[in-house]
Amino acid sequence: MGSRVEILNDDGYRSDGRRQFELRDITMDLSQRGTADGSAMITHGLTQVLVSVFGPREAKMRSQTFHDRAVLNVEVNIAPFSTGERRKRNRGDKRILEFASAIKSTFEPVVQTNLYPRSQIDIYVHVLQQDGGLLQAGINATTLALVSAGIPLLDLVCAVTGGVHSTSPMLDLTTLEENDIPHLTVAIMPKTGKITLVTMETRLHADRFADIFKLACEAGQVIHKEMKRTVRARTRRLVDAMDLGIRSSAGTGENVDKDVAMNEPE
């Protein structure tokens, strides 16, 4: 099978000008969206995913709740304009259901659900743009959204994709690369270095698998650093804003609502 586009050229550059182990640009945005309790938008290169988290809140269906823990409910919406060929997928699509159940089962052991008995946490995943690494973006965005909703987690789950082109492993694949080479997604819990999710769908020799698997575990740590920085910066901003509110209300001596003060700098 000859591919038209060179995946890795002789100088060690990939089709989008990256090196083998280079990740794409990551942007993480934790700003408030609508009435969601927590939301996050993440972009890995051209892949963009928005996740909104609602809850813990009372479940719509009482029968679905558990007496000793909260239930995670994941719903995935893939925008029809997110891919090159415009195509509407219905909600019953097996691939979407699998994607949702992968996110759900990744976060079930990580979210401390036992703190919220008889309640439900809704996670809505919106895929806005797809260019490879969909599951990776989905998991990373969900982690951030859960953090911004203030839901206690055991660790930040960091996911990364990797692939092997003949014998050279590479990280964070684009659609072009995903279509051509065997690839896998690994989600790690950086504190313990343990693996919560690993999926691979294409044929790959067991030895090659070991290489790329170890590499992906390392790359997860890098994403973790980036996540931690984003969360810290966001929290710092919120704390600063609160300080400002307290100071301004104390200065004027009036009993001003903190939220109002927060919206007016100075």
């Binding site: 097996k94 259901l97 159940s101 992968a102 089962s105 693996i195 999710l197 294409t202 020799h205 067991a206």
Partner: protein, 283 residues
């Protein structure tokens, strides 16, 4: 939706206690497979696979269709699998449950997307006629590890199936009835086998291969690996569940490689035995 009855506390504690000592209720070793029994039906491509009390029936049939315009040179394979309430009272007809979605997708990945069947060899006339293979999987009974059993039944059915020979002269296609000319087997690139390992909440307990229904219910996560005897992994699937150390995953891969080789010899032997009982007349 009725929830499956959870095992009673004494049952749970007993099983966990036994597993911690490396003992299983059915007397197997932790990494021992229930030996699969393969029985073949009167038709080619009709296979019943039983692992312990788990039973799956797989059946392949082929017909000639017009290919899709996007892939004029490739045959079509579809996999029908539905878990009916027949397998176990846990399954309901109607909306697919999580297990069913996982199983259907795994079957699709293991048997179809891993390129086990050479799709181009199913093409008769480019853009005009191709073979459409339909693999139907019936789950007859679920006593744990339905997925591995279904994958095994599916791949053996594909290996067992033989399609009628076709002759193309100009634009005319003649399909020879099996009684006229010996039917030909499908060309398979490789034979993937699926292995499922179950993990338990207590991390000092060893993982078990081919979990029984009780073990599956008590497990805190499963890892499924599909691979062939040539050490090529086709699917690795661990979604959620208890977190594992990276070395553990690689250790499991090595074990699965061993098991795939053993299973491959068994399958080849059974297929040969069956083939010996069939009379093929070549005129």
């Amino acid at each position: 939706m009725p929830r499956p009855p959870s095992p009673s506390i004494p049952e749970k504690e007993f099983t966990y206690g036994a597993l911690k000592q490396g003992l299983r209720l059915d007397g197997r070793l932790p990494l021992e497979l229930r030996t699969p029994t393969l029985s073949f039906g009167p038709d080619l491509g009709w296979v019943e696979c039983a692992m312990g009390k788990t039973r799956v029936l797989a059946q392949v049939d082929g017909k000639m269709v017009k290919p899709t315009p996007e892939r004029p040179l490739e045959g079509i394979i579809t996999i029908n699998s539905e878990i009916s309430p027949m397998a176990s009272s846990e399954y309901e007809p109607g909306r697919p449950s999580d297990e069913e979605v996982t199983m259907t997708r795994m079957l699709d990945k293991v048997l179809r997307r891993s390129d086990a069947v050479d799709k181009e060899s199913l093409c008769v006339q480019a853009g005009q006629r191709v073979w459409h293979l339909r693999l139907t999987i019936h789950c007859l009974a679920d006593a744990g590890n339905l997925l591995d059993c279904a994958c095994l039944a599916g791949i053996v059915a594909l290996k067992h199936y033989r399609r009628p020979e076709v002759e193309v002269v100009g634009d005319e296609v003649t399909i020879h009835h099996p009684s006229e000319r010996a039917p030909v087997s499908l060309s398979l690139h490789h034979t993937p086998y699926c292995f499922t390992f179950a993990y338990f909440p207590d991390t000092s307990t060893q993982a078990v291969l081919d979990p029984s229904l009780l073990e599956q219910r008590l497990s805190a996560g499963v890892l499924s690996i599909a691979l062939n005897a040539q050490r090529e992994l086709c699917v690795v699937q661990k979604a959620g569940g208890v977190p594992l150390a990276p070395d553990e995953v690689l250790r499991i891969v090595d074990i699965a490689v061993q098991k795939a080789k053993e299973l491959n010899t068994l399958v080849e032997r059974r297929l040969q035995e069956d083939w010996a009982t069939r009379h093929v007349e070549v005129r």
